[in-house]
């Protein structure tokens, strides 16, 4: 069982608290969506949870041990981060990018073993990328690039998967595909999956649990209600349910 806990973490840039006393306990098997207005501290929270950023106050624990006490390589064998679709400056192939996921598992000499190659093959196959493995990352479509970054995290063989706005720049079909892959990883394979999402409807479809951040604080944790949504995002939002779907609809403008 993997448990990732934020215990009273705050992050201060200058005089501004980007995160203010956030406490969360996230467990394996959960699909957690983090939503909130721009500047609410979502990315900062994710960076703290992955150990990339050390909070100014408070701390993050992984399975009960302080995350800052892990060696960088050891933490990366448990937690994988899918970065936002990034600019690529150099002609890496899809396969080379996916193989980057093996970095925390390589020895000092940095050579990949046949077992590493098989894990990369498997990650490519699971993300339907085998036919594209020798294509350059900057020459494939946006959706394919997103899948390659996802496959990179899969090749890391993590127990927790963190995604930073994985659906921006994707069309609805690719949004669904990416998030259903992430949800399956949580519900079927027992990973802890945490995704920052801007689209509230996608969050409602994806998540078993939704954390709403506003001004660096957790204002709601669990199920989004119309009341909290209206108070965080302003009026004009309505939650409509039909027993299967929860739709967050805008009032006519």
């Amino acid at each position: 069982m993997t448990t990732l806990c934020a215990r009273g973490i705050s992050v201060r840039y200058g005089t501004r608290d980007v995160l203010d006393d956030v406490t969360l306990s996230l467990d394996a098997g959960e699909a957690v969506a983090i939503v909130g207005p721009n500047g609410a501290g979502k990315s900062t929270l994710l960076r703290c949870l992955s150990g990339v950023l050390t909070p100014t106050r408070g701390g993050v624990t992984l399975d009960g041990r302080a995350l800052s006490g892990y060696r960088p390589g050891a933490a990366a064998r448990v937690i994988a981060v899918v970065p936002q679709v990034a600019d690529v400056f150099f002609p890496f192939t899809v396969r080379e990018v996916v193989a980057l996921g093996r970095t925390p598992w390589l020895g000092t000499l940095g050579r990949a073993s046949p077992a590493d190659d098989r894990i990369v093959d498997d990650a490519l196959a699971r993300c339907d990328l085998l036919p594209l493995e020798d294509q350059r990352l900057d020459r494939v479509s946006g959706g394919e690039r997103q899948r390659a970054l996802l496959a990179m995290a899969v090749a890391q063989r993590p127990r927790a998967l963190l995604l930073d706005e994985p659906t921006t720049h994707l069309d609805p079909a690719h949004q669904r595909a990416t998030l259903s892959f992430a949800r399956d990883s949580a519900l079927r394979q027992g990973l802890l999956v945490v995704a920052i999402l801007h689209d509230l409807n996608l969050a409602a479809a994806f998540a078993t649990r939704t954390v709403i951040l506003s001004r660096g604080r957790v204002v709601s944790d669990g199920r989004m209600t119309e009341e909290t949504l209206r108070s965080v995002f302003g009026g004009g939002l309505r939650v409509i349910e039909d027993g299967v779907r929860r739709v967050i609809a805008h009032d006519p403008l």
């Binding site: 050891a74 970065p83 990034a86 400056f89 150099f90 890496f92 080379e96 990018v97 970095t103 940095g110």
Partner: protein
């Protein structure tokens, strides 16, 4: 083309370039005499081949290879296709430190490369700090920091040249070296530079996966289990070993570290582990040929090889800069 094919053809190209460097020079020597000189014959032609041309072509090969490998590391680390030891100011830092050592009159064969290494390291750490002062490294901030540092070091070197009697006595030699002249005085120098460069290339190969982990930036490297600060220092240290050894042998040679990795990526993609051997061979070949040009274009006079690489590399750099305006804004 397959990677192994590219690698083998480059080995062939380097051997041919080395041979050409031995055969051609200010004094015409028949190919047969060159071969007998290499196999140990005596005579004035043999002395020219063995004591002048051979150390020089080997020196050129080592310098070119070292600069190209340092270029790959810097470009990948900074995610900047316009970085190399010359542009980022580490060559200038190395040359300033080396000139300081000459001015103090140190005689140990290790003093010059050691000082050049320290100078390159100080300069690259400084540029890295300056460039990320704004929060994140951008293509332009690195170039600006490098330009400013290079001019500053250049001004100090000029000051030292005028001020120090010891340097003034050897003005022509020091100036020639500064402009990028490969002047190998003795075998000891080559052995020192060669060993340092071998260590640098071995370190570069070991660091290759960490270099690649920077493909999506520092955060992503950290999430892949690479400590960005420590890896950056290790990579800059390796670059400085290579740059220091190269500058100690040959002064300021620009653009080899920029041109060669760029061309190599067309043949072998972006993975550092594949690029490093390729760049070493290609850089060595390019500089041996450039040095051949430097010795023959205005024979019996000689051009500093830095002039040749500058004439070819400058326009190339500008065209890269124009095409990367989008990156520069990022």
């Amino acid at each position: 083309m397959r990677y192994a094919t590219v690698l083998l053809s480059l080995v062939g190209a380097l051997l041919l370039a080395l041979l050409a460097g031995l055969l051609v020079g200010a004094v015409a020597i028949a190919p047969g005499d060159v071969l007998s000189a290499l196999s140990g014959a005596s005579g004035s032609d043999s002395t020219i081949v063995r004591d002048l041309r051979l150390p020089r072509v080997i020196g050129a090969a080592l310098v070119g290879g070292a600069l190209a490998v340092a270029g790959v590391l810097l470009q990948s680390l900074l995610r900047n296709p316009l970085a190399d030891p010359y542009v980022t100011g580490s060559s200038a830092g190395a040359s300033l430190a080396a000139v300081l050592v000459i001015a103090t009159g140190a005689v140990s064969p290790l003093a010059l490369p050691l000082a050049a290494f320290a100078g390159a390291l100080a300069a690259s750490l400084l540029v890295w700090q300056l460039a990320r002062a704004g929060g994140r490294t951008t293509v332009l901030s690195v170039l600006l920091a490098g330009v400013v540092l290079s001019s500053f070091c250049g001004a100090l070197v000029t000051f030292l040249l005028v001020w120090s009697d010891r340097l003034a006595l050897r003005l022509r030699a020091v100036l020639g070296w500064l402009l990028g002249g490969i002047s190998v005085l003795d075998l000891g120098e080559l052995v020192v530079a060669g060993s340092v460069i071998a260590i640098g290339v071995a370190l570069a190969l070991m660091l290759a996966p960490r270099v690649d982990a920077f493909a999506f930036g520092e955060d992503s490297a950290a999430a892949l289990g690479v400590d960005p600060e420590r890896a950056t220092v290790a990579i800059l240290l390796t670059c400085s070993l290579l740059t220091g050894a190269a500058v100690a042998l040959s002064g300021l040679i620009g653009f080899v570290g920029l041109l060669v990795p760029h061309a190599a990526r067309f043949a072998a993609g972006a993975s550092a582990a594949r690029l490093i051997p390729l760049c070493f061979l290609a850089g060595a070949t390019v500089l041996v040929l450039a040095d051949l040009g430097a010795r023959t274009v205005v024979a019996p006079s000689e051009l500093p090889v830095g002039v040749i690489t500058g004439l070819i590399g400058g326009p190339f750099f500008l065209s890269l800069l124009m095409r990367s305006r989008g990156i520069a804004r990022a």
